[in-house]
């Protein structure tokens, strides 16, 4: 209960998250990169779903 000053907080990132956050730091500010490292799996799922949506939208004859 008592928090000791100087304690190192865990980042809560797994291995992939650490890697992703490390890569994302190059193009994103640090808090956002940390967020990316935390929710990388969610972002991946959303990306795959949106890939499917785009695939369906890009069907020939769709735009006519």
């Amino acid at each position: 209960m008592e928090r000791v000053l100087g304690e190192r907080w865990s980042t809560g990132l797994d291995d992939i998250g650490v890697m992703v956050a490390d890569r994302a730091t190059t193009i994103l500010p640090a808090p956002v990169a940390g967020l990316v490292g935390q929710i990388w799996w969610l972002l991946l799922i959303v990306f795959l779903f949106s890939l499917a949506i785009g695939w369906r939208l890009g069907a020939p004859g769709r735009g006519r």
Partner: protein, 631 residues
Amino acid sequence: MNVSLPFLQALILFVWVTLLGIVLGWILRRFFALFQRRTAPRPTVDAVSCSTEVETSSPARSVKDEVVENGSAQGEIDGADRKGAAFERSDPRLPVRLRLTEDRLADMARSASALAMASAANGPPPSLPPLTSDERWRLQVASMPPVEAVEGWPARATDDQGPNATDWRAKRPAHGDYAPSSTEARVFRPLDPAIAGAVLGAQALPDDGQRPAVVSIVPSGTTRDTSPSSDAAAVNEATNAREPLDLPALNTALWRGRAATEGKAAPSLPPSATDEAMRLQIRPRTVEDSPSSDIYASDPASLTASKGAESWRPSKRSEARSEVRPPFRPIGDVDALVRTKWGVSPPSSGTLDKSVTEDSKDDPILNMDHEIPKGRLWGPAVAMPLPSAVAAQALGRSAGSPSHGEVIEDFDSGDPSAFQADGTAFAIGMDDEARPERLAGAVEKLAEESEPAEEDRPVPRIEESEMRRVASEDEALSDDNQASSQSKTVLSPGPSDEDDETSIEDGFEPILRDSHDRGAAPVGSGQPVDGSEWLDMPPPVDRTNEAVPSDPPAGSAHPHGSDDLSRIRGVGPATEQRLHELGVTSYAQIAAWGPDEAAWFGEQLFFPGRVERENWIELARELMNEGSDQG
């Protein structure tokens, strides 16, 4: 709406990822679709070519063979073939979609050119287009049905007893209604052969007035006649009995159609205005500018019309009324409107400076220069000493200390709070050169207030004998301890007790001795003042030479004694020290806390709610009971 920053960041991330995925998937799909279309064979081209072959084989197969055998048309056909070959290959520089469209256009053009060649080889063009098997309708000359005169537009007569007869509004044409220009019976005008030829591809027969052409469309399947000569004969014999063609009407219709299709504005007058069956009355909508300023006033004309007057034009008036946009009418004071909209007073009443100084005399922001006193003591960074300390310092200064400025504003010696306050005052720019002098003046003022004046001081009436006795005692005392007579007054408040021995020796006049002496000596006028409290006051105790204990023994700081606060669960050494700093040393103190005290101490310990959460009060009570049981 409370949205945290990480949530927003995550939202933006999701949006970006979604957009990226959609765009990427779209591009991938288009790319693969393009690949499939390029590699796959074209079924449409084959179908078109097959149909072309069927067409050329059925009506004019032999004709084409003839033409091919004929030497004169050989070059033309070769040219057409080359043209078709040129059609096949589209420009590769074009984008993909355009290229595909061009391929289709090339197919269509190839088939059309083949058909045109086949028909051109036949000499004169056929009167009817070549009939294919899947044609559902064809043109055939048929007998004309008996002509019945079209009545005029069904305008209701006044004595009409239809279902709408009671609706007196329907008797008048409204805006946009079709209104007949004349009430005479219309003549049926058959389709002009020129129009028929242009639209349907049929051959237009020359109009000589004797045999007007009548072309009607009948469903196919009954007869199938492909010979042009029999067609012409049928046309002749079928149209002999027809009524003459209204050529001016057709001309007018054609002229109008041409004028409409060419996008030109129709002239005001058609070539012949007599032959039109009906015309569309399109009048420009007139938005009437109401001359009266009050648009909400009742119009007497419309009022009487609404009551059923004969001059009632319901559509025109009402629609014009509905189209009227109410004019802008400033409501009331324009200045008030401006003030309401912009929140400022209009500058029309005078110059801006004048309006500001007049309208906001008591505005503390605008009148900051006038209202706020110039000086230092207005901000939050005022470092005012306590009045008692000020008084003491003033006394010390009046006692003859030469360096009063240093005493009051001791910049060099380390009073950290004063130094901080000075730093803050310097930071906010309110410190200036005259500060020590001004502060000294304030100190003097406060000292005057705190120290009773000479005439206000109660002077007790003392008997003469007593006065003598006291004087003798005083003499004896001064004789007895000569050395410590001056240091008897250390108890009076002063800037420092031990360090300023020399300054006190120099000329410090303490309050207590002063009053005591004053009470003893008959100074001033003998005013009847009750001075019993002054006399009953115990004499000051000299504690100067007593040995002061350096460290108070444990438990002596508080009547309940100092307990081990770290026995309370959650109280560590740092917290215990902080509690000691706050004056909490025993369990009884903690046990006596109420909810407000608990909250306050929690905040003071930098852990709000911790006292309640960890139940310090209960634990302190238990520990206190333990201690009492043991004791």
